[in-house]
């Protein structure tokens, strides 16, 4: 028995297997996912596993190694989030998102840090040796909202798009602030004296970290798009480039002490448009599937490890400190959201209702990032206290807030996601509005949001598309793309249900644009009666598209129908005028 030889890969595979089997288990029992979010169940499984290991070995189970988390488990999830981020709502609300991510996080860090320091001053709690700097350091790692946890919970509750993108966008972008503050306070802990120069350097560093991350991400993204321009003859490895370049951007950013999460998001968003135009349809599907698969596995593993690591002797249970941490996290988040939203509404940057504000505040979940950061802390005598406090906060937010957010959303009647299929008409209206508002901004001499968007589009079509797209001669407007997609989908549906009984290649009814037909249709003879009927069938059935699923979901791919494989070709139909 040569266990030593295979031990490491064997154990890794076993963990992944356990995670996947647990997932199957939850979904077999239908009622459970609607009451208890999956993340809770996974932590619970982890707790059980941890307990078993502890019982068997009588020592603490393996704690999730910080390196493994940051280098292997986190990137797939963030990549998945960035690649499938609906860019339109994201950029429409970018001002608000940045405000929450940057100012909100700073507010939380200092608020929590100072209030906990105040608690430490109380003699009865025996916490006097926890200095202000330590409290601020703790504040910096506990204040940030975690994208993994937010994704896991919000995905199942389907709130309206704007709310979803606000919380989600904030959780992704606050990484830049967290990185800077965490490293700053940690270096302050080690420095004998702190001068004001150091503080200013810290502020400057924030801009470097954030913008540097974006630059790194964009450069890798555009390089990836450029590479895919030449992959016409080796389609099989096309998906690989997407993953390689994104991962490289993450690692490069981390190497330079920049924000890896921001880099990978910028990379994914930057390359998406061009890569999707260049790669084949099959590669596209592969990319989607692999991303979802990897992020799913990562997600599951993270929660299980969280559960496992909770058991053990890593904790110092000083209950006053822990309870006050939880209370302050909630209080400061609520205050922060209230104050910032007041300014946002006042200056008409956005309009966020009271109900939405509550969900934003309540949806500030903490997760695995805090957990890993606390293990990264330098060993000092109060470290275990911080570990205990972090664990309790995470468990509280994931279990209690995670489980109650769905009934609260129902109770408060928060505006839910609109479950309707995309229509060409809507797309036309939205584009019309875009151009109209850009025009009005030009006329009134105001350089606003639409002005810059217009300028960016112009820059894109003039320069970027020429370099990054393989077939530059056919850039397509979003209206045309959506129209073609709907036509294709509808034609496939019709072909499957057998309503297109005969080959309608009669020249008088269809123009020359009607092209490739399904093989089985070609064999049947022409029937003029059916041709007449076809016109009528098309007129009545066209665009009764069926409901598509949510725009972004961990479990399903965007815009997928089950039976796409049937029709062999694309049917582009013309229909006469009304």
């Amino acid at each position: 028995l040569d266990y030593q030889h295979v031990q490491v890969p064997f154990e890794i595979t076993l963990w992944i297997m356990l995670a996947s089997l647990a997932k199957i288990g939850f979904h077999l029992y239908n009622k459970l996912p609607s009451v208890v979010p999956e993340s809770c169940l996974l932590i619970f499984v982890g707790l059980i596993m941890g307990g078993i290991i502890y019982g068997l070995n009588d020592r603490s189970p393996p704690v999730m190694d910080t390196d493994i988390f940051f280098l292997y488990l986190l990137p797939p999830i963030v990549l998945d989030a960035g690649y499938f981020m609906p860019s339109r709502p994201f950029f429409e609300n970018i001002g608000t998102i940045l405000l929450y991510a940057v100012v909100g996080t700073i507010w939380n860090v200092f608020g929590i840090g100072f209030s906990l320091y105040g608690i430490c001053q109380v003699k009865a709690f025996r916490l006097q040796d926890v200095s202000l700097l330590h409290n601020l350091l703790f504040g910096s790692l506990i204040a940030a909202v975690d994208p993994v946890a937010v994704l896991a919970v919000f995905e199942e509750i389907h709130v309206n798009e704007k709310l979803h993108i606000l919380v989600f966008g904030e959780s992704l972008l606050n990484d830049a602030v967290t990185v800077v503050l965490y490293k700053l306070f940690r270096s302050f802990c080690e420095m004998p004296t702190i001068k004001s120069v150091d503080v200013f350097a810290g502020v400057g560093k924030f801009f470097v970290v954030g913008l540097g991350g974006v630059l790194v991400g964009l450069s890798f993204g555009f390089t990836a798009a450029f590479t895919t321009r030449f992959t016409k003859d080796i389609r099989v490895i096309e998906p690989l480039f997407v993953f390689l370049y994104s991962y490289l951007s993450y690692l490069t950013a981390e190497m330079f002490h920049l924000s890896g999460i921001v880099a990978i998001i910028a990379c994914a968003m930057g390359m998406k448009r061009y890569v999707e135009a260049n790669i084949s349809l099959k590669s596209h599907t592969t990319v989607k599937y692999f991303m979802k698969m990897w992020s799913s596995v990562s997600d599951t593993l993270i929660f299980i490890f969280l559960g496992v690591s909770t058991i053990g002797e890593n904790h110092e249970w000083n209950w006053p400190y822990i309870c006050f941490t939880v209370i302050f996290c909630l209080v400061w988040r609520a205050l922060g959201v209230l104050v910032l939203t007041f300014f946002v509404n006042r200056f008409h940057v956005n309009t966020i209702t009271g109900k939405d504000q509550f969900i934003i505040a309540y949806g500030g979940l903490r997760g695995a990032i805090c957990f890993s950061l606390v293990f990264l802390l330098p060993d000092f005598h109060r470290k275990k206290l911080f570990i205990a406090a972090t664990t309790v906060v995470i468990l509280f937010t994931v279990f209690i807030q995670g489980m109650t957010i769905r009934p609260l959303v129902d109770l408060l009647a928060v505006k839910r996601k609109r479950e309707s299929a995309p229509t060409v008409g809507e797309q036309i209206h939205i584009r019309f509005l875009d151009h109209l508002l850009a025009g009005i901004e030009d006329i009134s001499g105001h350089w606003g949001q639409y002005y810059w968007k217009d300028k960016l589009e112009y820059f894109n079509s003039k320069y970027l598309q020429k370099i990054l797209l393989r077939e530059y001669d056919q850039p397509k407007s979003s209206i045309v793309l959506l129209y073609e997609k709907l036509e294709r989908k509808h034609a496939i549906e019709l072909a499957e249900t057998g309503q297109l009984g005969r080959a309608p290649s009669h020249p008088s009814l269809l123009n020359d644009r009607a092209v490739i037909m399904d093989k089985k249709l070609e064999d049947d003879a022409l029937n003029p009666h059916v041709l007449d009927n076809m016109q009528e069938i098309l007129a009545r059935n066209l665009y009764r598209t069926r409901r598509t699923g949510p725009a972004y979901s961990r479990h399903t791919l965007p815009g997928e129908t089950e039976h796409v494989e049937h029709a062999k070709g694309i049917l582009i139909l013309r229909h006469k005028s009304l």
């Binding site: 008409h348 008409g425 036309i428 019309f432 151009h435 009005i440 030009d442 850039p475 045309v480």
Partner: protein
């Protein structure tokens, strides 16, 4: 300017800014004509430029009784058009919100309905789509037409539901138009940010 109604409440700073802009466009005259809009460089690349300029002179938007196009507009008319783009106020009640929304949609409707007959016909819709896609030189005209046809059919199915094979859908009326825009929250989308809505109607 002395006849400022609560219809177009903007603050005095914004009025000043717009007045300066107006003077710039009109070259210090009291009124502007269509030709004056040619001097805005960025507007040239806008695919629906024609419709936007047209909207400024459309008498229905200027709240005048008669129909058709005005030849020239003064500063008050300019402000009236601009006021269609003011942002939503947080303390509006249901009725005000509804009126607010209808106003904006009416402006849009007039832009689509170029022959002023109160209906958006297929030809007008085609015209809109062609203009929107005109920025792309490689797109055939046929594609734009078929897209417009498809969109019209969608509109028909939303507004009229299932149609018999002999029924003809004449055009989109304003009520149908309202139905089509139900999913898009125009109150928050259709505004130019610097126009805030203070209820003081300052006279210049």
């Amino acid at each position: 300017l002395s006849a400022f109604s609560p219809h177009s409440p903007v603050t005095s700073e914004q009025i000043e800014h717009l007045h300066r802009r107006f003077k710039q466009l009109s070259r210090d005259q009291l009124t502007i004509r269509k030709e004056n809009f040619d001097s805005i460089p960025d507007l040239e690349f806008n695919p629906i430029r024609g419709k936007i300029v047209h909207a400024f002179f459309d008498k229905r938007n200027l709240r005048q009784e008669s129909d058709g196009l005005a030849d020239e507009i003064n500063f008050e008319d300019f402000l009236t058009i601009m006021s269609y783009f003011r942002p939503i106020e947080m303390n509006m009640d249901e009725e005000q919100l509804d009126r607010f929304r209808k106003e904006k949609l009416k402006f849009l409707f007039h832009m689509y309905d170029s022959d002023h007959d109160g209906k958006i016909t297929l030809q007008e819709y085609r015209n809109v789509v062609e203009e929107l896609l005109s920025g792309n030189p490689h797109l055939e005209k046929e594609s734009a037409r078929s897209i417009a046809d498809g969109a019209m059919m969608e509109a028909a199915s939303i507004c009229v539901g299932q149609m018999g094979p002999d029924q003809v859908y004449e055009g989109i009326t304003f009520d149908d138009f309202l139905k089509m825009w139900q999913g898009i929250d125009i109150e928050t989308k259709m505004h130019v940010r610097f126009l805030t809505m203070e209820t003081i109607a300052h006279c210049y």
